[in-house]
Subunit: 348 residues, 4 copies
Amino acid sequence: MIKAAIVGGTGYTGAELLRLLSRHPGVELAAITSRSLAGTPVAELFPNLRGHCDLIFSDPDPAALAACDLVFFATPHGVAQALVPTLISRGVRVIDLSADFRLRDVGAWEHWYGQPHAAPKLTAQAVYGLPEVNRAEIARAQLIACPGCYPTAIQLGWIPLLEAALVDPRQLVASAASGASGAGRQGRVDLLLAENSDNFRAYGAAGHRHLPEIEQGLNRARPRGAESARVTFVPHLLPMVRGIHATLFATAVKETGGEQLQQLFERRYRDEPFVDVMPMGSHPQTRSVRGTNMCRISVLRPQQRDTVVVLSVIDNLAKGASAQAIQNMNIMFDLDETQGLESPALLP
Amino acid sequence: MIKAAIVGGTGYTGAELLRLLSRHPGVELAAITSRSLAGTPVAELFPNLRGHCDLIFSDPDPAALAACDLVFFATPHGVAQALVPTLISRGVRVIDLSADFRLRDVGAWEHWYGQPHAAPKLTAQAVYGLPEVNRAEIARAQLIACPGCYPTAIQLGWIPLLEAALVDPRQLVASAASGASGAGRQGRVDLLLAENSDNFRAYGAAGHRHLPEIEQGLNRARPRGAESARVTFVPHLLPMVRGIHATLFATAVKETGGEQLQQLFERRYRDEPFVDVMPMGSHPQTRSVRGTNMCRISVLRPQQRDTVVVLSVIDNLAKGASAQAIQNMNIMFDLDETQGLESPALLP
Amino acid sequence: MIKAAIVGGTGYTGAELLRLLSRHPGVELAAITSRSLAGTPVAELFPNLRGHCDLIFSDPDPAALAACDLVFFATPHGVAQALVPTLISRGVRVIDLSADFRLRDVGAWEHWYGQPHAAPKLTAQAVYGLPEVNRAEIARAQLIACPGCYPTAIQLGWIPLLEAALVDPRQLVASAASGASGAGRQGRVDLLLAENSDNFRAYGAAGHRHLPEIEQGLNRARPRGAESARVTFVPHLLPMVRGIHATLFATAVKETGGEQLQQLFERRYRDEPFVDVMPMGSHPQTRSVRGTNMCRISVLRPQQRDTVVVLSVIDNLAKGASAQAIQNMNIMFDLDETQGLESPALLP
Amino acid sequence: MIKAAIVGGTGYTGAELLRLLSRHPGVELAAITSRSLAGTPVAELFPNLRGHCDLIFSDPDPAALAACDLVFFATPHGVAQALVPTLISRGVRVIDLSADFRLRDVGAWEHWYGQPHAAPKLTAQAVYGLPEVNRAEIARAQLIACPGCYPTAIQLGWIPLLEAALVDPRQLVASAASGASGAGRQGRVDLLLAENSDNFRAYGAAGHRHLPEIEQGLNRARPRGAESARVTFVPHLLPMVRGIHATLFATAVKETGGEQLQQLFERRYRDEPFVDVMPMGSHPQTRSVRGTNMCRISVLRPQQRDTVVVLSVIDNLAKGASAQAIQNMNIMFDLDETQGLESPALLP
């Protein structure tokens, strides 16, 4: 039984971790911390957990955390950096759902996040927690940097094409959209229902923090010697709660028909429990993965022209955050990779 | 292992049965029938079930159904009546999610459903599948009439008050609202997203088919000699997918304070795994029960006046249909009553 | 040309006033104030007004306001009380959209709003701005207290029954629901899209500030000597932006059939430009009044029992606030009562 | 006063025409036809028009239509082709909101719409009703082919770049999304609220009928001798009612900074009453144009790379259909181009 704790459990990724871990047979949740809500029962904040979780939010206690086998960080960026080094030195394993250790290039991190990095040395040690790419390293990692939501959907959509050198890495276009839960549980006017229901808009088109993470991942995927990945990434806010849909456009550099593309994707993900290549002609729906760790993907070449289109959907809080964190945990602790992640999506 | 089949699996209650049964350790699903989609894989219609359900819709085959331990009917009203008698005579147990066997009074059924009843004798044999009232009878029943969605939420809200003779049965007001999935999976203009998003309206205010079922249940709950229940019931259509919220008003006939009401409800439902009496001052939210078999209830007496208000929420497809059907199955087959129904709701 | 100003224009009622006044031929908008956004163009905050409104938010300037014919207050409660007395003494006419002058009983106001009233004497002078009741007084008023959103929908639904003494004033039940814009434009977690989409819940069931306003209005409507109105009022939050739906239940004290009720309502509102009695058997939809000053009402007596049901819909920001304010203005300044309020609702 | 009729008024574009024309001072609506609903009052189908429209749906009467100055077709494709020739020969002017006369290339039309064209000769005579491109021709046209919704948003977004030869016409990527009203008012399961709320998906990615219309328009815009436009166009369905958002990607062929792009767009649309170039750094929102004839556009060059991004929003039923039809009418009949189209969008 893994003894685990969650630091910063009052946001949506914390709530999702709690929901999923409450049914995981291999984990005992020892603590969940929140400075602002210390003393409040978890089930008071998240009424879906009444009867499922008896924990009470507590102040972070370094000794108690250090006594765990595993600590999840579900905190805003900048928090994990300050607390992780001590845990690492005590031999605790850490899965960080925030952005703190996602970028190998510390300078890039500091540029995009606008602050100095508090634990730059750990960055090199952190393993990027995308199991479809890094499974072996994850198994032996002490510190996992869990991928961002957009980067998960986008990398899984493009990796087969880049690995096979079928598209030009310099001309990648990602138009993606997220449910409002992706912006977190914070009282901002621009996230109100009254501002976003029956509305659709782009945001961060000039530059979003997930861009360097996406490009870093794609650069790892391309063959040696290939050009660097250059992505134009425009995220949008959907009038709904959960779900990411990435619509990906790339320029083919080889003649490849739709069936070959289909086979390429099916082959690449044949053994992946959480990537589902849809039948040709399908359009994946975000609701088909709601609450699950699944990524559903379609690939096509419209009108037999030279643009390859990939459609990739995940649940931003699940495969895009907390469920993927548990997938990482399962791998790290040598459990069945799908444990606690087997439920199908709610539909309708 | 229970060998089960589903008749009529292309609607939303069928989809919900499939989702829940796919994770139930005690059931083997042998067949799912649909005349219109015979030959189509279930997972093609419901993409959330890809990888979870390999079944193919088939034409109803009486012999195959008769070889099952249990048959669920997830059909429009009128269908089960025609098929159930044969199954019953062969010793198969049946859980009917439709309205066919809910009303003891066959004449009332024929009045409200506008057609002759095809199996009036079976009506007396059918057990109304509300475990919080009928658990012992359900355990030995061969034919279960699964309660309607509104009747479940409303009865669970009022039963403690009626049993305790605290309110006047003749002056009951139920204002309730349902997500659009309650209207089923059918191509009707008035159910389009473009007609219902950002919109709210009552329907069936002059008389809804769930009214006689509600009154029948309340009449069973009142003490001997009490007046007959008379309910004014107005249902509304919510711009959302799942959830029923019942706001119930009754006139107190005894002086009873808020704390006494709270204790009454807590006592009545203390041993019920799927009724959660919320703390005083709470307002239950439909999302807190989404996808689950839970009913969450609050009771209060606003402004210390003589109207008792009960707020009751369920998921119309779950506790209001398919999950309650599985709760019934668990009871009938002497399984743990919560088996396959333990997952907390998705939130947010 | 009426020279008007708006105090507190950054909320939703301010935005709606701006939208409606931008097309009103009889009004020149001289100023719109906001301490927090002084210097910001209105169209930057509300992009729908680009090209329609060149105003810039300004600090409130008493002299500039006093130079206007009319000042609207679209402020939180407590603000108008402090500023209105000076304007009144300078002869400016005032339409207050907040709750500051709605209750005649200053003690009740102080109880429900939890603070001392800063201008108790003006309360007696204020005219309650419900034209269907108070048209003559509105015409000569200097200070209008614009009705709340729920009180507008509920009073218009019940007034014909109370005036005709057809129902028992002591047994009134109002189950009502509002779009999320009713909670205002403020950054609160409980108003996020991620908290409210696909969700429905009651709030303030134990006591909502609109209750005394509703009862005050109903008491004015009942015949002399009738019992005081006692309302049980439960509001709910809808997963949508605009609209109020009130479902009203009252106990008939006289035998009155459905057609008589229909005639009563049609007669009562025959000359009202903004109350539309729907045909018998209809259910009014909130979208049918979106953005308009219309109230649509249906009345029925379900199952020929003794409970009369009224369904009443308005747009909470329009007839429930800003459009009704303009209707009051039109009456006060002897304009055509419908001026600037003629557009039909957007549908779908 | 223009005497006008609408053929096929039971869909959403018909409803929107009725809403807008009901307030247009220069038009008298003589008839609205529907075979299926002949005899039904328009306001019964569309309750927002109660009090605004006394018309009754009637069977199409060729003589009555021929007596009009103008006939709008708000019909499915294939219908106008059959009826327009007679009207044209009688001298009636026609604005067709369907796709029947949008494509110059009759063969392409027959390929994409899968049926023979019934009036191929009229195609050459039809004027494409995009005023920002064709104003002079529209003024003297007898037959207008009103642009599709996606083509309107997309062409207006790209035309300045193509006219200025700043981007490569062969590498155009359009990722666009529409509210569900774009699919029309038809009872299809895949358009239900229960299927689309809290869901997002692409559709028609392999080839959508608007593609040839988009390319035709872009080809007209490019300079002589430039390469043919090749667009990869992926439409998506939004969980909301109205609005189109087009996210457009093009490869710059000249060094052009963000300010130059901004100036280019501002210059191109300086005199256009219905195209609003947003300030640099803005992201247009669909709700800011809801119910209006406005197109709001932002242009940027993310990360100073060589991909130019344009964000373009319209209301699919308004500028994407019925309001644009009225703009065409105003031009054809020498009215003020903005008449009847001046109201700002509803927000929130």
